[in-house]
């Protein structure tokens, strides 16, 4: 394979940003191998648009957008791709080092949210994007971001309450 100047810039971008983007992908899909597939798909799409992006900030925003949209479309397709199994997949145990019951519960409930609600929460509370940036990344309105974030948080709050976890300010951390 020949790597020209443009490709070298892209390779440098991937080297610089892929670890961070992989974490975002992982939070979106909740599984490392699927996150790697998701990120590779997003980066390949970014490579095809690299000639128009160039600016690393624009490229990062573009990758985020592809991640969000692709994760949502995968979630919609999962009923066609999932297969029944007679063995439950491994789940994090309650005794993992550094993991607390409430965080494990939160992680499980986050993964159970609809994809778009989960995506909004990941972009807002992990990537620390503004509502406007989140809206741009997902291709929706700012009002849509507010609505989905509110519904997602409400749902998490309800689920955490159902799970029996009682959170008291100042006691969680």
């Amino acid at each position: 394979m020949t790597v020209d100047g443009d490709d070298q810039g892209f390779v440098a971008f991937v080297s610089d940003r892929s670890a961070s983007l992989l974490r975002t992908a992982y939070l979106l899909v909740g599984d490392q191998s699927r996150a790697e597939d998701l990120l590779q798909t997003a980066l390949t799409k970014t490579y095809l648009r690299w000639g128009q992006l160039r600016d690393p900030a624009a490229a990062t925003a573009y990758v985020r957008r592809v991640l969000a949209n692709t994760a949502t479309s995968w979630w919609r397709l999962r009923s066609f791709s999932e297969r029944p199994t007679d063995r439950l997949p491994e789940v994090p145990g309650a005794d993992q080092i550094g993991a607390r019951e409430d965080q494990l519960a939160m992680w499980r409930h986050l993964q159970a949210l609809p994809a778009r609600q989960r995506t909004v929460l990941v972009l807002r509370y992990y990537e620390d994007l503004t509502e406007r940036e989140t809206a741009a990344a997902m291709g929706i309105s700012v009002g849509g971001v507010k609505s989905m974030a509110s519904r997602g948080l409400t749902r998490l709050r309800a689920l955490m309450g159902i799970s029996g976890d009682v959170m008291v300010a100042g006691e969680v951390f």
Partner: protein
């Protein structure tokens, strides 16, 4: 409470995020994937152009054979005047050169538009679900009609004595070869879908070479492929060319065909292919985009009207 949920959410995502190892893949690998995607997209674009060109050429050849008995005519030329000498179809009525009108079977009407292919001693008219033979006297006889017929297409041999018929099925395509004059089935092969990249999952008939049928295949991933099926020897063995030729169409002199391939730089190339030598290509040119092919003179026009004439 709300803030506690948000704080717990942030903390949870941070701690989950740091568990992920990275980077997952090198940039070079992504570049390779991207280049493959670009090549595949270019192939798809070329395939679209070829379908259009083939349709135009097929129509032109059909018109020419009725007009002046020439086997091949250019795709462009003067519009004929005077009484129509060609067959035409309106809904289910086929008009023959002598003015006679015959009704095509209504069972084919559900298969969309009828397509007419000149063959020895008449025409084959096919929709996507049925094919019939029509004689110059207006006698219509069924050629293909049954449970397997879907997305039916017909490609006649150069002498018009045989036709290769592709039909789509749920498990793959079925290709059958018929002797036109007797309507006898003389070859059949089932192109079963496969997960293999070298298998024939979506194979169909591209054309003819001597007494064999040229099959094209679009695998689940990778580039299109071509292979040769000697139907007299039995079902197709699935062997495809190792020369990277993706699309074949048209006949050239010297017992060769016209083929399309892609060079290592991703450029589309056209040239002559020799099916007898595993579709080895010669006389190719890669520095232009194919927009039209004139089969008889073997010339291709580049967008912008530059003319290329390969030396034969």
């Amino acid at each position: 409470m709300t803030n506690d949920v948000e704080t717990l959410l942030r903390r949870t995502m941070r701690e989950q995020g740091v568990r992920v190892d990275g980077p997952p893949v090198g940039g070079e690998e992504i570049v390779r994937r991207g280049q493959r995607v670009r090549r595949t997209r270019r192939w798809a674009m070329v395939a679209g152009v070829v379908v259009v060109v083939t349709g135009l050429l097929g129509g032109a050849v059909g018109l020419g054979s009725f007009r002046d008995h020439s086997s091949v005519v250019p795709a462009t030329g003067a519009v004929p005047t005077g009484p129509p000498k060609v067959v035409s179809v309106q809904k289910d009525k086929l008009s023959l050169p002598g003015g006679k009108t015959v009704a095509l079977p209504r069972s084919g009407l559900t298969g969309g538009a009828w397509v007419i292919t000149p063959v020895a001693g008449g025409w084959v008219a096919n929709s996507s679900v049925a094919a019939v033979l029509v004689s110059p006297a207006g006698v219509v006889s069924s050629l293909v009609e049954g449970a397997h017929t879907a997305n039916l297409s017909v490609v006649a041999s150069p002498d018009g004595e045989r036709v290769a018929v592709t039909q789509a099925g749920t498990a793959g395509n079925l290709v059958q070869v018929y002797q036109v004059r007797t309507r006898k089935l003389i070859g059949t092969t089932s192109l079963v879908r496969s997960e293999s990249e070298v298998g024939p999952p979506e194979s169909h008939v591209l054309g003819w070479y001597r007494d064999s049928v040229v099959l094209g295949s679009v695998p689940p991933s990778g580039l299109p492929q071509v292979g040769l099926w000697d139907f007299a020897a039995g079902p197709w063995n699935g062997k495809v060319s190792q020369h990277g030729v993706g699309i074949v169409q048209g006949a050239a002199d010297g017992d060769r065909l016209l083929g399309y391939t892609m060079d290592p730089k991703g450029r589309v190339c056209v040239g002559f292919v020799d099916p007898a030598r595993d579709f080895a290509m010669s006389g190719q040119s890669c520095d232009f985009q194919v927009t039209q092919a004139l089969v008889r003179s073997f010339r291709w026009h580049r967008a912008g009207s530059r003319l290329w004439s390969p030396t034969c």
